[in-house]
């Protein structure tokens, strides 16, 4: 098996796994951090340390982070909670058509509840034209949600410029950073971002733990979506999973120390792969190769049916569309928003690279992709006139 689906999930780093399991057993510290006894207080210390590690990665204060079950929950809390908190000021929201379902679905929920949502289209390279955002802003706009790195295409949005526009108008900016935290430099100390969603399992941490950053600034807050305990300032109640939080903290620490090396490695792997397939007739990159995140390469190819390509590529593990959409037969809505035809969108494969990716894996993937294309083209009939 050759795993090239690191945008869907990553393996847990050995240091992370060690720190996590050490806490879970009887020899570790498994106490409920809400308990006031000594063991409970120790759990709180572990959590505080982990929050500090994640805060260091993002250049923010640890007390600005709310622990969640992952980026989907963080997105829901930011968008629904942010919209509800600000609804007396206005009920207009702005987002992009290329956002993750964890953003578009809560937006759809809000629309059904009477909020208005403006859906911005990207340019053909996936990047948002900032002028479109400025035009879409209204007096009653309260929240803008734009992702940092697109999960399907790797397109990077300029969240600093977007944030500056939002700040001028006192509008909340939420950034889904599930694909960028721990992979690209993020400086919440200087970036004009109010809410940021993140998850551990995209950055060599475990599944089931994420966080929402909430900026310390007047008017920035979210209404809770869950009730039943006083944890985390009542914003997100529930027993804190200390072992997962510690794991996220270690993953953040490792990511901070390795980020430049990781980025260099991903760039080499992506460039090697693209140079091995770029001469195939009809092939094209979805997104922006030059400015995109190097861990993701999304390619379409003319005359190829995507589902058959995916099976012909086995044992390479890759994705059509996003993992969240992989059961769907529909072409990716993200790629359709970039202006691709149904057929070209349907032929798209997302290759995503990670720390464990080796040159041999890339060479194998090149050979397998080329042979799969050759086979599928050979057996395809001419179009009916």
């Amino acid at each position: 098996m050759i795993y090239l689906d690191y945008a869907a999930s990553t393996p847990v780093d050995a240091h992370v796994a060690e720190a996590m399991t050490a806490l879970m057993t009887v020899a570790g510290n498994y106490a409920n951090p809400s308990s006031t006894h000594a063991a409970g207080r120790r759990s709180v210390e572990y959590i505080a340390h982990a929050a500090g590690q994640l805060a260091d990665l993002l250049n923010t204060d640890a007390d600005r982070l709310i622990w969640t079950s992952g980026a989907t929950e963080s997105d829901n809390l930011a968008i629904l909670g942010g919209a509800y908190f600000r609804q007396k000021r206005g009920r207009h929201l702005i987002t992009m058509r290329t956002e993750h379902k964890a953003v578009t679905d809560p937006m759809n929920v809000l629309e059904r509840q009477g909020f208005e949502v403006t859906w911005l289209d990207p340019e053909s390279n996936g990047v948002l034209d900032i002028a479109k955002l400025e035009v879409a802003m209204r007096d009653d706009t309260q929240l803008v949600s734009i992702m940092h790195v697109n999960n399907e295409t790797g397109v990077v949005q300029d969240v600093r410029k977007i944030g500056a526009i939002c700040r001028e108008r006192n509008v909340l900016l939420h950034v889904d950073a599930a694909q960028s935290v721990g992979k690209l430099p993020i400086d919440l100390g200087s970036w004009p971002v109010d809410l940021m969603s993140m998850t551990a399992h995209k950055v060599y941490g475990p599944k089931g733990i994420g966080a929402l950053y909430i900026a310390d600034r007047p008017g920035v807050h979210v209404d809770p979506l869950l009730f039943g305990g006083g944890q985390q300032r009542r914003l997100r109640p529930g027993t804190l999973p200390a072992q997962q939080i510690v794991a996220f903290g270690v993953a953040a620490d490792v990511a901070r120390l390795r980020m430049q090396d990781d980025l260099a490695h991903l760039t080499v792997m992506r460039d090697r792969f693209w140079s091995g397939i770029s001469d195939l007739p009809g092939i094209s990159i979805n997104g922006d190769f030059e400015s995109g995140f190097p861990g993701i390469l999304n390619v379409s190819i003319e005359g190829i049916e995507g589902e058959s390509l995916l099976l012909a590529l086995e044992p390479i593990c890759v994705a059509t569309g996003s993992a969240c959409n992989s059961k769907s037969q529909e072409p990716s809505y993200v790629l359709r928003a970039l202006g691709l035809s149904d057929e070209l969108a349907q032929s798209a494969i997302r290759f995503s690279f990670g720390r464990p990716t080796r040159s041999e894996d890339i060479d194998f993937a090149i050979e397998r992709y080329r042979s799969a294309i050759e086979m599928l083209r050979r057996i395809a009939p001419e179009r009916v006139a």
């Binding site: 005359g303 049916e305 589902e307 058959s308 099976l311 012909a312 037969q329 599928l376 050979r378 057996i379 395809a380 009939p381 001419e382 179009r383 009916v384």
Partner: protein, 125 residues
């Protein structure tokens, strides 16, 4: 519970489509519908189908179904093409219900091929 969308038989036929390609001099029928493009080709001797081949653009179930049809209908009477039903193919390959329409395109192509072959045979008589 398996998360694999393909049966072992589907995987096997998709991986080694021995009948991919259309034999020279064959009569053929092409249909494009439901996101599927299929060309079926037959060489016949008298009333018997002696060789079958296919070209397909579609999902793995379509390619596997086309291969399964070709493998099982060689050396059978031409007349069987005319009332071919895809239900056995769907069952043997465990085709999910949402893809039934795509396999029915193969059924249409087979019947169309049957008509073309029959017409050619009749014109020789």
């Amino acid at each position: 519970m398996s998360n694999d969308p393909y049966s072992a038989r589907t995987r096997e036929l998709f991986a080694a489509p021995a009948h991919a390609g259309c034999p020279d001099g064959a009569l053929s029928a092409t249909i494009e519908d439901q996101g599927v493009r299929i060309r079926l080709a037959a060489i016949c001797a008298g009333d018997e189908i002696t060789a079958l081949g296919f070209e397909a653009w579609g999902c793995p179930h379509v390619i596997a179904a086309a291969e399964a049809f070709c493998a099982s209908y060689e050396h059978r009477p031409v007349v069987e093409l005319l009332d071919f039903s895809a239900s056995d193919l769907m069952q043997s390959l465990s085709v999910p219900v949402e893809k039934a329409g795509r396999i029915l395109v193969i059924e249409d192509a087979v019947r169309s091929l049957g008509s073309i072959v029959r017409e050619a045979l009749d014109s020789k008589d």
